[in-house]
């Protein structure tokens, strides 16, 4: 479901826009950047925020 929510959000972006998505470690953190990259989005950064929370910065091409 995490990627479903991410995908719906990414689809609303205009080309060239960037967005930040908070993810928990584990399946969402493995899946979201991989699938976003497969779909042509650019993963600019993935940083550890706190505990098991990570922040992903993604750009729509």
């Amino acid at each position: 479901m995490t990627f479903v929510k991410a995908k719906l959000h990414l689809e609303q972006l205009k080309p060239g826009d960037t967005t930040e998505i908070l993810l928990v470690a584990g399946e969402p953190l493995d899946n979201v950047p991989r699938t976003a990259t497969e779909q042509g989005y650019q993963v600019l950064e993935s940083v550890h925020v706190r505990d098991n929370i990570h922040k992903l910065t993604i750009k729509k091409p």
Binding site: M1, F3, K7, L8
Partner: protein, 159 residues
């Protein structure tokens, strides 16, 4: 151009938990780029009715009474331990509490991600329903042969 992966789901159950499985798989597959088709038949049709609660819809006394008993998406029973409709309410609340998408959110996500909804012609005939009784996102009314043709070359699940 490479052909899209395809997932086709036959949604026959009208149980709350099984309908959640249908829309979880459908929205998840659509999000990762699959073409997704759902063929709603018999009790599965309850989840795509325009009327989400209990209502006397359909043609003929028996059909109208039956459709009242079956209800719509917001009156689906849990497959076990339904407790007169209390359990789906508790389950939805537990899902929200655990940050898991409830049925309505999965349903909306499936629509937004352009999952293809199809209604079964035979089941509609038996239940006295017409295409107008369903949400406008229902793309077409199909028979088995057409659905098999549509699902050719992909994976098919029966839920």
């Amino acid at each position: 151009m490479a052909e899209k992966n395809k997932l086709s789901i036959i949604s026959m159950s009208g149980d709350f938990d099984k309908v959640i499985a249908v829309f979880t798989l459908a929205s998840g597959a659509a999000a990762v780029g699959y073409e997704v088709n759902i063929f709603f038949t018999f009790w599965g049709l309850n989840s795509i009715k325009k009327v989400t609660g209990r209502s006397f819809i359909g043609t003929g006394f028996m059909a109208r009474f039956f459709n009242f008993l079956l209800g719509g998406r917001k009156s689906l029973p849990l497959s076990r331990l339904n407790f007169w409709g209390l359990s789906p309410i508790l389950m939805t609340s537990m899902m929200k509490g655990k940050n898991v998408a409830p049925l309505e959110e999965l349903f909306d996500a499936s629509k937004a991600l352009k999952v293809n909804f199809y209604a079964c012609e035979m089941a509609m005939h038996v239940l006295g329903l017409t295409k107008d009784d369903f949400i406008p996102e229902v793309k077409d009314v199909l028979g088995v042969a057409s659905f098999l043709e549509l699902s050719k070359g992909g994976q098919t699940l029966f839920i």
